[in-house]
Amino acid sequence: MELLKQIFIEPFETMYALPDLLLQTLWEGFVSGTLYSLIALGFVLIFKASGVFNFAQGIMVVFAALCLVGIHALGVPAYLALILTLGVMALLAMSVVQFVMKPLVNQPDIILFMSTIGITFILIAGGQIIFGGEPKAMITEELGLPTGSSVLEVSGGIVIFQHIDIAAAIIAAILIAGLALFFNKTKIGRALRAVADDHQAALSVGISLEQIWVVVWFAAGVVALTAGILWAAKSDVSFALQVIALKALPVLVLGGFTSIPGAIIGGLIIGFGEKLFDLYWGVPLLGGGTESWFAFIIALLFLLYRPEGLFGEKLIERI
């Protein structure tokens, strides 16, 4: 009886009693949710266009951030470094297509999946050789990202908004809107959706798959760079960052591997869910620390009862 009360009544009483705490938690959930969405988006882009589950997406986030910081450390101005990093991501996309996708086309999906694990190791090793393995600070101020915070008073309490979080949400929204525009309004975007729908037919009308692959790998690289900058601005650029990519897995299971809106909404659900659950149920009942596994329990439930995710097509068996 006591337990039921703790589960079903007390959390909501706390929410009602301390609205500022609730608002703060929701905000934090939203912020980490947008970042999960961004990382998941990188996976979805590549999976849609080539049926490859890109295990290297997490390390691409780290690698992109490392490149940016590393190039800037050479004395290059921040914005130029950003542009050069984009160039590196484009180069990476072209090499992946040239040396991995092209030779392995038409092989079973598992082989392509294994090859992305190979790419992961190459990027880890390459990143360490070129830039060193120690954590570095993100060049937040040099890039013109805000660092302060604002305080909002809510019925007697306060809610703190870090400016970098607000910027992160805005940048993520702009990036997503930009991608949506690119997919829906441009010739390449249209071709990309065509490939995602039916790659044989796309081939038959003369769409070059290699071109499209380069574009999606580059787009995934841009998304990775953005996620890397925003995430590292809150902590550090280190190889430990790649574990956050693991958080994208439950997001994908939730949203569906082939759905871009799914990745976004899935990311937000996981973000909100884990923060709320930890504060209101995790801490009082389980002693806290639930954030690291909450998402995976949700994913497990989804795999059991709705394996195609909220918005996905029934394609999960392709991984």
Binding site: N106, K187, R190, D197, D198, V205, I207
Partner: protein, 278 residues
Amino acid sequence: MSVAENLKSETAETILSVNNIEVIYNHVILVLKGVSLTVPKGGIVALLGANGAGKTTTLRAVSNLLRGERGEVTKGNIIFNDDEIQDLTPNELVRRGCIQVMEGRHCFGHLSIEENLMTGAYTRKDGAAAVRDHLDLVYQYFPRLKERRKSQAGYTSGGEQQMCAIGRALMSKPSMILLDEPSMGLAPQLVEEIFEIVRDLNQKENVSFLLAEQNTNIALKYATYGYILESGRIVMDGDAKELRENEDVKEFYLGTGGEGRKSFKDVKHYRRRKRWLA
């Protein structure tokens, strides 16, 4: 006229010639055992035969879509407009004016009809205005597509999807279309409608067609020349009219003729003596 000149004048009138090609799938399965055929410029050539005879494989060999199915042309060559094309990518081939409309339509289900059509213009470099004009032209041939231009292709009817697939191919400004089973799964009236459009395109836009069909009747009505494929070999060819009147074709593919047949037993008996298989 010397022999060389004679050859030259012949190739000038031929848009596509397939010379004795052999196709192997997965390195082991021999599907085409030496197929040769030619399509004259501005002609409609029908490739006929039963399921599994190799019609689709022949078309795919020409359009270079075999590699996606793990098949390859191991012998022979394919000439399109005087160039060997068997090593080109489909992208390059479409650029040169030869495009395939695949069996089963294969529209992009999540794209609208108009977007589907626009994907056909992917390889074109002659500017947005020209593409727009061409889109209007395609809509003239397929007024139905214009009505449904905003609908998702996945939700349109089979006939509309077939039109969309042909229209999409047209958007690449082809000189030759490889049309695979346009009649598949369509009502007879619609089949007629689509073949009428094919003939129109052939006459007005000067597009050559190589069409694979199981519906021998309609194919021979609209084609000028026909080839009959059986287990990976061409077993008979001739003018469409000739083929229509051929007793064997009537018996095996048109379901008419074969008079004097009293029971099913006779049919079997006749099949065993089929002349051209001997």
